[in-house]
């Protein structure tokens, strides 16, 4: 087991190098660079930048050097100093920009995850155990409804209700007075107060699909002979459901952790933009649009690293949860 973990971790190193290079190349692929975009923005406000200034700018940002040199500089900076470079657009170190956003993204994603699993798994189990009952039909109806409604639409509706009915300030994760304030109890309460709208919106579609998956997993397990064995032992229905079929039906969810982590960064961009949440998604989009290559590169690298870590974590957890995998 330990050997498996070590070898998997070691394999991550070459994969990360390949992935980071690919990420860098991909970001450079669209024609032009940050300077071109910058000039275009200035031109839009009738300012003209001549060729010399542009060349100056390129030199200052190091954009005139060959791709491979730029990559080596970038990656050595990350490896030796933890320096992800400077965001052209924000004129701030990339790492500062990202970490601030990531902390809030983490809070939002994990609250959503807890809400989703907390609601969906019990309902999924109920729906499977009471297959074709009225309750099952109601749950099925609502889960299909949840699947069908686009989350940005739900965001708009909820914002309207929250603003008009409850008079709550919507959009963002903080009230105005706390946005730039240092952390305090007041700021935490303010965050919780704002968090529920995005959590509900993000949880609705997640819950809907998860109920269906859990129901299907459970239905596969419920008819298995080991459930009958447990019943013949005299266990109560609730006890045996939780101990046997639910336990095994949960295993597939462990593998979803692999794509849960990268979702931290790139997931739910539309909802975040609609609600103007200060999370990572909108920043990533913005950096890609303005060809802010160090910021975008850092994000892509982060997504890739999280994907690799996520699959490692889910593999290890699966091996702990299912002895059959451990054996191989």
């Amino acid at each position: 087991m330990l050997r498996f973990i070590i070898s998997r971790t070691l394999w991550m190193i070459p994969s990360l190098f390949v992935v980071s290079f690919l990420a860098f190349v991909l970001i450079q692929l669209p024609p032009g660079d940050y300077v071109t975009t910058y000039i275009a923005t200035l031109a839009a406000s009738n300012e003209v930048v001549d060729q010399n200034t542009a060349a100056d700018l390129r030199q200052r940002f190091g954009l005139d050097q060959p791709l491979i040199v730029q990559y080596v500089k970038w990656i050595t900076g990350i490896l030796t100093r933890g320096d992800f470079g400077l965001s052209f657009e924000w004129q701030q170190p990339v790492s500062d920009l990202i970490w601030e956003r990531m902390a809030l993204t983490l809070i939002l994603t994990f609250s959503t995850l807890l809400a989703t699993w907390g609601i969906a798994l019990p309902i999924g189990v109920f729906s499977a155990v009471k297959k074709y009952s009225i309750g099952d039909y109601i749950v099925t109806f609502f889960s299909f409804l949840g699947l069908a409604v686009p989350s940005f639409l739900l965001a708009l509706v909820l914002m309207y209700i929250a603003a008009v009915q409850f008079g709550q300030e919507v959009g963002g994760l903080f009230s105005e007075q706390y946005v730039n304030a240092p952390w305090s109890m007041g700021k935490v309460f303010d965050l919780i107060h704002h968090l529920w709208i995005p959590v509900i919106i993000l949880a609705v579609s997640g819950t809907a699909s998860l109920i269906r998956v859990m129901r299907a997993n459970m239905l596969d397990e419920l008819g298995k002979p080991y459930v009958t064995t447990a019943r013949a032992k005299g266990l109560s229905e609730f006890h045996l459901l939780v101990k046997y079929p639910v336990r095994i039906a949960l295993n597939p969810f462990i593998s979803t952790i692999a794509w849960l982590l990268p979702n931290l960064v790139s997931g739910s961009i539309i909802v975040a933009i609609v609600l103007s949440l200060p999370t990572a998604g909108p920043l990533l989009l913005q950096s890609l649009m303005s060809q802010d290559m160090y910021l975008a590169g850092a994000f892509v690298l982060l997504i890739c690293t999280l994907t690799l870590i996520g699959s490692l974590v889910s593999d290890i957890l699966l091996a702990f949860a299912d002895p059959r995998i451990r054996l191989e």
Partner: protein, 576 residues
């Protein structure tokens, strides 16, 4: 050794001497409401279970024997439910309770399950949870019913595992079920069932998925534990040999009804009911050679063999530590004969059969096939074209009549496919050929547009045979072709195969673990053990006077369908 009286049906209480009868079942009726009406799975069944006695419930698939057993514990799968009858459980303290009156989720029935009446199931693999340790699953019962502490339960669990003869019980406790063989898993099931010293043990086909030698050990174990604990055992099986070996009383079921009940000797030697007679008859028929074969002149052993296998090797796994599934096998198949290949699971008999068609690429050796024109082909080394021709002439019949037919193809498509893909017939001609083939295997050609699910198991196996003979083959490899069929269908299927053999001049390689089937049909036998052929010879010679100790051990473990010839306790083990 033991004789029990079954109380005459319809006279409850007459024979229920106090302290003897533990369970009285009267007019038990279990229905399954389905869209088209109601399936009466159990239809007015009555019987008694007595202390220290074994009641065998026999019947073919669909007879309702399993549902009867599950009804007792009220664990019938949805939508089945008990609609009438009573099941009176007499407790040792003199009180009694009608199980049919208890709700299927009530605390009362749960206190009975596992504690007073325990059950073991057919599939030891899937009947235990794969993700919990053996100890966890056994201790659960102890803690639930006997309110033991964790440490006590663990000690008792080790003790139970020792009772069911699992090696190193103190370590086995923390193992998972997939680390055990089928026989060991069934022992774990038995340990779990016995945990609370139940008065009644219900065993639902507990040895059907096991090899004969393992079966003999499990039956022995159940008998031994029954004598120690004085349990009543209700043993459900379709194997008349097992019934003859262990039963005190027998209940013959058909379509949810009891056809006949009585002590084991009467059932076997003086059956009254027509169905029982038919059942016993079809079992006895498989105890000797088929009439068609007795009438036929013996095969010409000097003829040149159709298939000659020399030093065949088939290894799996890494070349450093290979698993030798087929290890240096040499045998021959003569024209027009049936060669039986017999062995237990893991003996390599199926792998051997598949190598004959090169479904697997053998690691070494030769399979020399003599074509109709006299030329010889080595199947192991043959190129693609030659192999294609050989596969037209060597066909296969599979074990599972459900899994081996594509559910989305009509019967005509299934049977016609080999003709079509080999470009032999199409259109009108194909239709005629298919109709002719269906007639040959005893299927009505008018059914050709139906899908496989509309046919019974026996009919499906006929479809498989029709598909195999479609290309006028010279050799057919039949892998456990009758194992999934009820005993009454088995001899019919074998007779059909033998008729076709004589008519079409086929050679069969007949792979089976069932010595009865082999004896009925085969001219010669090869016995396989751990990848090697340990003995070959004429059927009578191998069956009646085996020379190799493994063959002797194998034959001694097979229960004979005659209660007057109980012989399993005389069996011996082969450990070579």
């Amino acid at each position: 050794m033991t004789v029990t009286e079954l109380s005459p049906r319809g006279a409850p209480g007459a024979a229920s001497a106090p302290g003897r009868t533990v369970l009285e079942v009267r007019n038990l009726t279990t229905h399954f409401p389905v869209r088209t009406g109601v399936v009466k799975a159990v239809d007015g069944v009555s019987f008694n279970l007595e202390r220290g006695k074994t009641l065998c419930v026999v019947g073919e698939s669909g007879s309702g024997k399993s549902v009867t057993a599950r009804s007792i514990l009220q664990i019938v799968d949805a939508p089945g439910r008990i609609v009438a009858g009573e099941m009176i459980l007499h407790r040792p303290d003199g009180s009694s309770v009608d199980l049919a009156k208890l709700g299927n989720r009530s605390r009362e029935i749960r206190a009975v399950r596992g504690a007073e009446i325990a059950m073991i199931f057919q599939e030891p693999m899937s009947s235990l949870s794969p993700v919990h340790t053996v100890g966890d699953q056994i201790m659960e019962v102890l803690r639930l019913h006997l309110k033991m502490s964790k440490a006590e339960a663990r000690a008792r669990c080790v003790e139970l595992l020792r009772q069911v003869e699992i090696p190193h019980p103190d370590r086995a406790v923390d193992r998972y079920t997939f680390e055990f063989s089928g026989g060991m898993r069934q022992r774990v099931m038995i340990a779990m069932a016995l945990a609370c010293n139940p008065q009644i043990l219900i065993a639902d086909e507990p040895t059907t998925a096991l090899d004969v030698t393992t079966q003999a050990e499990i039956l022995d174990l159940i008998k031994k534990l029954q004598q120690q604990h004085g349990m009543a055992v209700m043993f459900i099986t379709h194997d008349m040999g097992v019934v003859a070996e262990i039963a005190d009383e027998v209940l013959v079921m058909y379509h949810g009804k009891v056809m006949e009940a009585g002590d084991v000797d009467t059932i076997f030697h003086a059956p009254k009911d027509e169905y029982t007679k038919m059942l016993i008859g079809s079992v006895l028929r498989l105890e000797q050679k088929a009439e068609i074969r007795l009438k036929r002149p013996p095969i010409d052993t000097t003829a040149e063999p159709v298939i000659e296998v020399k030093n065949l090797q088939m290894h799996f796994g890494s070349p450093k530590a290979p698993i030798k599934a087929v290890d240096d096998v040499t045998l021959k198949v003569l024209p027009g004969e049936t060669l039986g290949i017999v062995g237990e699971s893991g003996s390599g008999k199926t792998t051997m059969g598949r190598c004959l068609l090169r479904i697997y690429d053998p690691t070494g050796g030769q399979i020399s096939y003599k074509r109709a024109d006299g030329s010889k082909v080595d199947i192991v080394a043959a190129d693609k074209e030659t192999l294609k021709i050989c596969r037209r002439e060597i066909r296969m019949i599979f074990q599972d009549p459900v899994g081996s037919l594509n559910p989305r193809m009509t019967v005509a498509q299934v049977i016609g496919e080999p003709l079509l893909v080999n470009g032999i017939a199409k259109g009108r001609e194909l239709d005629d050929r298919v109709a002719d083939l269906m007639q040959q295997v005893g299927l009505n050609p008018e059914w050709r547009e139906r899908y496989p699910h509309a046919f019974s198991g026996g009919q499906r196996q006929r479809i498989g045979i029709a598909r195999a003979i479609a290309l006028n083959p010279r050799v057919i490899v039949a892998d456990e072709a009758t194992s999934a069929l009820d005993v009454s269908l088995r001899s019919q299927m074998l007779d059909l195969m033998m008729n076709l053999q004589d008519k079409l001049g086929l050679s069969y390689v007949f792979i089976s673990h069932d010595i009865g089937v082999i004896r009925y049909m085969c001219d010669r036998i090869a016995v396989m053990y751990r990848g090697k052929v340990v003995e070959t010879g004429f059927t009578e010679q191998v069956c009646d006077a085996p020379t190799h100790p493994y063959t002797q051990a194998l034959l001694s473990a097979i229960p004979r369908p005659d209660p007057r010839m109980r012989s399993m306790h005389k069996r011996h083990r082969y450990t070579g």
